[in-house]
Amino acid sequence: MMLSAALLLLSKPVFQAPPPPVRGRDPWVFRCVLDKRPRMVVFALSEQGLWCAYDAQTLSFYKCWQGNVRLTGSVYDTSHGPQPTVQGTEYLRGFDEDNWQVFVGGKGVAAEPRFGGYWMHDGRATLLYHLILPDGRNIQVRETPEFSRPEELFSDDQIEDFVLEKSDLCLWRSFQVVECPEDVQIALRVGFKGTSRKLVEMMEREDPDKQEGWLVLSSTRPGNNLLLFFKPKSEVR
């Protein structure tokens, strides 16, 4: 039975990171214009057609979907004018604005988010974010998006405890903040509208109506895992 989205607090990580899946294409991480957004980073996470994309312009999560990217345009199929677009079923949508909050000594400050690129390692890809504080300090945040399934993350008992099903799809967003000063705290706005379950170590100011909340990263909590589970909307091999 699918429960309404409820926060399940985990006091510590209870899963082992599974090996990376077979990717959807080569190259599986690529830059392009996508849905008229010019600075996108696209991940073909799995050969089962699960994708996610980030907007490097706004330093935000764009969406997660199952399907494909229609690669059309002069560099792809010689047509002049069209650009790549998302094709398929959308599972999750992000926010274009107000994604980041930075607190110094408990007070909110206006930080400038800048895209730092991405790092390919161990079969995964990690996005690199910079948050430039008004005092010039540069806080680096990393995010590694990944696709998985409950049976790759948990035991059968855990699957039952967490009210998951083996057919569920999982978007696993893993965050780290690098060398965060003690007086700095970072919060990232995340949404979970469309999920059947989510597992997260720490989320603040959750709004169950809007189905969003804030992940908190600090020197005391440099990492945070957010696992979002979806019921497949179409057959997934």
Binding site: P27, A56, T72, S79, G81, W119
Partner: protein
């Protein structure tokens, strides 16, 4: 190849209903289909739903002129297999090819008439090409079909016609040049070059199974060549062994991928930077395995939108900055998009130290190329479009505005426009210029000049630059063609060779007839090649400099040179015509004492104009002692005269009185040549079928000239196998000929002797027929080109006869060769006027004859050697 092989299947380009039609205005009447000089852009380019044109129905196309060539192509979708019939109606001529084979030939001048043809066809797409010309009067063009078993023809519906979708349909104004049966235009003189420069050897620079669409080229310190690819993979490859010239010894390894249209690469020390559409990225290999681990964003601060044309082009490093250019957005038809994202059309630079971004200059459109030139200055190119009447090469000046009003329309109208260093007139010497680069040492006379590639015109052009009173200007000269693809990027390697990266795509983005990918290497062979090296501006004209001394006595006549000038005015129209175009009179010519320079005194030079100099005459040079004379590789240049020098007159030199006329050189004497004309008398010649001195021929200014009626003259001696050399000159409309193996047993030299025609092609009616034009084996074998000098200038002819083998040479060009008494020769004779002359061409020895055709003609420097 060590790289991952991309299994990215090329997607077929999308298609839409209708046919693609391109109209080329000719400005002169033609009587049959002809070929266009390569590399020209149509005047009108559009998609039509069907082929159904009739002037009576007034389905006219705006701006269509009275003489044009139309090229229609696309696919016909055959719904079911069977024998299909086609009916082509046209006024005037047309020709239809289907599946690459001629289906209907309906050429020539005629009214609206139809021709039909049938063909067995399978169901599916069948490519077609329809060429048509119109020459005044009524116009019609209609293509119909009849299905198997049907009774009537019907117009092929648009649902059965397809053409490429979404192409940018580029046009350019002005009359287009055609290749006439006897064209005076030749590669490097009125037509694009066709081959690799003879001073260079061409090698592959890639493995056989790797053909990149090159977006960027840069060498690493270890000699590897990095290549970024403008393709779905968006990759960077490291190629080893490129200097070997052997594809089997070159390896390619993919070191990065997933980049968005990487159109710039730069290596600074050990650091590698790639320019994407939206970002300047450093490729960092953390673990030392050669593969990029981190794609580090150094800068993404410029504005960019989703438009397909918002390219970022680059890269060049200077003083710890990386320089790049940003193209504007355009609509698929080619017009600038409104509004633009702010900051487009700019030359920018990014600090290597901290990624800080700065605007350097503005007002660009499609600036696909930036590079370092003379004196360490940076130069960039821009492509024709709105506010850009022709493509151009500019020097990067901080704060400059180069003219495109796409971004700031109203404000831009008030900004002073920085003129280009060089205009690159559309389709004459440019179309889509790309990266410029300085030619380093080790390239003979070209070292120190600039060069640049071109994606659509193709090849690499050479740019000679000079600074006149603080103003940069100069000329562009044809240099290299014959490459495998249009040139997008080029770089000089550590081995000194020139590496050229090719590219191609749909629409106007590629060189016709070439591949859409390529990577090659050009190595200077250090062999003497006769070329136009530079053109310099003076207060009273232009000075031409050559790589070698031109032939003794050559180049003094103004008729050797054709000079014209015009200017451009940017408007919001796409491209722009030549304005105020006029021919300039060459008032006086001086050839320097070393014969390496020619000074052309010109009337009416104007600042702010492009001056085109072409050498239609056959200037030659003997580049090695005793070697054969060479013609110029490039015989034209386009000089952008931004500033007319005030105090820089041309040198003046009087023509020497004594030139080496009617004398044999030491080499010729060694080869066994003897003079047939001593320059002072008619000794050695007599009237045909006569005795005594010749009549009607006398010595004039060192030449044996026909000065009055007297008949043909022949040599006293007879010759079997020989090489004859002479020079001839006719008056306007003049006709004469040189005959060999003539006997006096018949009443005319032409009853036994074959003739090498002597003629003014332009003014004499025989010049319209190749078989009777200058240099032809009269009435039998035609020369492929008009190799004559402008009338009034001397033409150098050679006739080589050895047994049955005959060669005609004119002005260092071998025009034709044939075999006497062969089946082919017999067949030609049998169809000619000589069929009734049983002795024609059969002698194995005989006299040499010069024809009196009633027109003034002169011969000099006549020598012969027996073979």
């Amino acid at each position: 190849m060590l790289a991952l092989m991309l299994l990215w299947l090329a997607q077929e380009a999308p298609r839409q209903e209708g046919v693609s039609m391109r109209f080329y205005f000719l400005g002169e009447p033609i009587e049959e289909l002809c070929d266009l000089v390569a590399g020209q852009t149509p005047n009108i380019s559009r998609i039509e739903p069907q082929l159904d044109f009739d002037t009576d129905q007034a389905r006219g196309i705006a701006g269509l002129e009275y003489t044009f060539l139309a090229v229609v192509d696309g696919w016909i979708e055959i719904p079911a297999p069977g024998k299909w019939s086609f009916r082509l109606t046209s006024d005037d001529g047309s020709k239809l090819e289907l599946d690459g084979r001629t289906l209907i030939e309906h050429d020539g001048l005629h009214g609206s008439t139809a021709k039909v043809a049938e063909r067995e066809l399978s169901a599916g797409s069948h490519p077609f090409l329809l060429r048509h010309f119109q020459c005044y009067g009524g116009w019609s063009l209609r293509l119909e079909w009849k299905a198997p078993g049907a009774e009537r023809y019907e117009l092929i519906p648009s649902s059965a016609l397809r053409c490429p979708a979404g192409e940018v349909r580029v046009t350019a104004p002005g009359t287009k040049r055609i290749l006439k049966p006897l064209s005076k235009l030749r590669p490097g003189s009125g037509r694009p070059l066709e081959s690799v420069h003879p001073g260079y050897a061409l090698f592959p620079a890639r493995p056989a199974d790797f053909c990149p669409k090159v977006g960027g080229l840069a060498f690493r310190e270890n000699g590897d060549l990095l290549v970024s690819t403008w393709d779905p993979e968006g990759a960077v490859w490291a190629l080893s062994g490129v200097s070997s010239g052997d594809p089997a010894k070159i390896t390619a390894r993919r070191i990065a991928s997933g980049l968005a249209e990487p159109l710039g690469l730069c290596v600074v020390g050990k650091r590698v930077f790639v320019l994407q559409k939206q970002e300047l990225t450093e490729l960092i290999d953390i673990d030392g395995d050669g593969i990029t681990d981190t794609y580090s964003c150094l800068c993404s601060d410029w504005n960019v939108g989703p438009n397909f044309h918002e390219f970022a082009f680059g890269l060049v490093h200077k003083d710890n900055w990386l320089y790049a250019n940003l193209a504007i957005a355009i609509d698929p038809g080619g017009k600038s998009t409104r509004p633009q994202v702010p900051g487009r059309g700019e030359a920018i630079r990014i600090s290597l130290e901290n990624g800080r971004f700065e605007t350097v200059a503005q007002g660009l459109r499609t600036p696909n190329g930036i590079g370092t030139g003379p004196e360490g200055e940076l130069f960039l190119t821009d492509n024709q479009g709105d506010w850009l009447p022709a493509s151009k090469l500019m020097r990067l000046e901080p704060g400059a505005f180069y003219g495109s009003r796409a971004v700031k329309l109203e404000e831009a109208a008030k900004l002073p426009v920085t003129p280009p260093v060089l205009w690159l007139p559309q389709n004459e010497i440019g179309n889509s210029p790309s990266a410029p680069a300085l030619i380093p040492a080790g390239h003979g006379p070209y070292s120190g000049q600039l060069c640049h590639g071109d994606v659509t015109y193709g090849g690499v052009q050479r740019d000679f630059l000079e600074v006149i009173e603080g103003v940069w200007q100069g000329c562009v000269i044809p240099w290299i063609q014959g490459l495998e693809a249009g040139v997008n990027r080029l770089v000089f390697g550590p081995d000194g060779a020139l590496y050229v990266g090719g590219i191609g795509s749909s629409g106007n983005w590629g060189q016709s007839g070439k591949a859409n990918c390529g990577l090659q290497r050009l190595v200077w062979q250090n062999q003497p090649v006769f070329d136009l090296l530079a053109v310099r501006a003076h207060s009273d004209g232009l000075e031409l400099e050559f790589t070698h001394a031109i032939g003794d006595g050559e180049g003094w006549e103004p008729e050797n040179y054709a000079v014209a000038q015009w200017h451009y005015e940017p408007t919001e129209q796409y491209g722009g015509p030549k304005l105020d175009e006029q021919a300039l009179r060459v008032r006086r010519v001086s050839v320097s004492a070393d014969r390496r320079k020619v000074a052309l005194q010109l009337e009416g030079l104007k600042e702010g104009h492009v001056v085109h100099v072409r050498i239609p005459g056959a200037l030659t040079a003997q580049t090695t002692p005793g070697g054969s004379a060479q013609r110029l590789v490039a015989a034209e240049a386009w000089y952008t005269l931004n500033r007319l020098p005030k105090e820089r007159p041309l040198f003046v030199r009087e023509r020497p009185r004594s030139e080496a006329l009617n004398r044999l050189s030491a080499a010729e004497r060694e080869q066994g040549f003897e003079l047939l004309f001593d320059g002072a008398s008619t000794r050695g010649w007599r009237p045909f079928r006569g005795q005594g001195p010749v009549q009607g021929w006398s010595v004039v200014d060192g030449a044996l000239a026909r000065t009055g009626p007297g008949g043909d003259i022949i040599t006293e001696a007879q010759y079997g196998d020989f090489e004859l050399r002479l020079e001839w000159k006719v008056a306007s409309g003049g006709n004469s000929g040189v005959f060999f193996r003539v006997d006096e047993n018949h009443d005319a030299v032409w009853r036994t002797g074959a003739e090498m025609q002597v003629l003014d092609n332009d003014a004499h009616p025989d010049g319209r027929n190749p078989a009777t034009s200058a240099g032809a084996n009269y009435a039998l074998h035609s020369p492929p080109v008009d190799a004559t000098q402008p009338v009034g200038l001397w033409n150098r002819a050679r006739l080589v006869v050895r047994g049955s083998h005959v060669e005609h040479w004119l002005n260092e060009e071998k025009l034709l060769e044939y075999e006497l008494w062969s089946e082919e020769w017999k067949a030609l004779v049998g169809q000619s006027k000589f069929a009734s002359m049983p002795a024609y061409g059969l002698n194995k020895t005989g006299h040499i004859a010069l024809q009196d055709h009633g027109d003034p003609v002169a011969f000099r420097n006549i020598s012969i050697r027996k073979l």
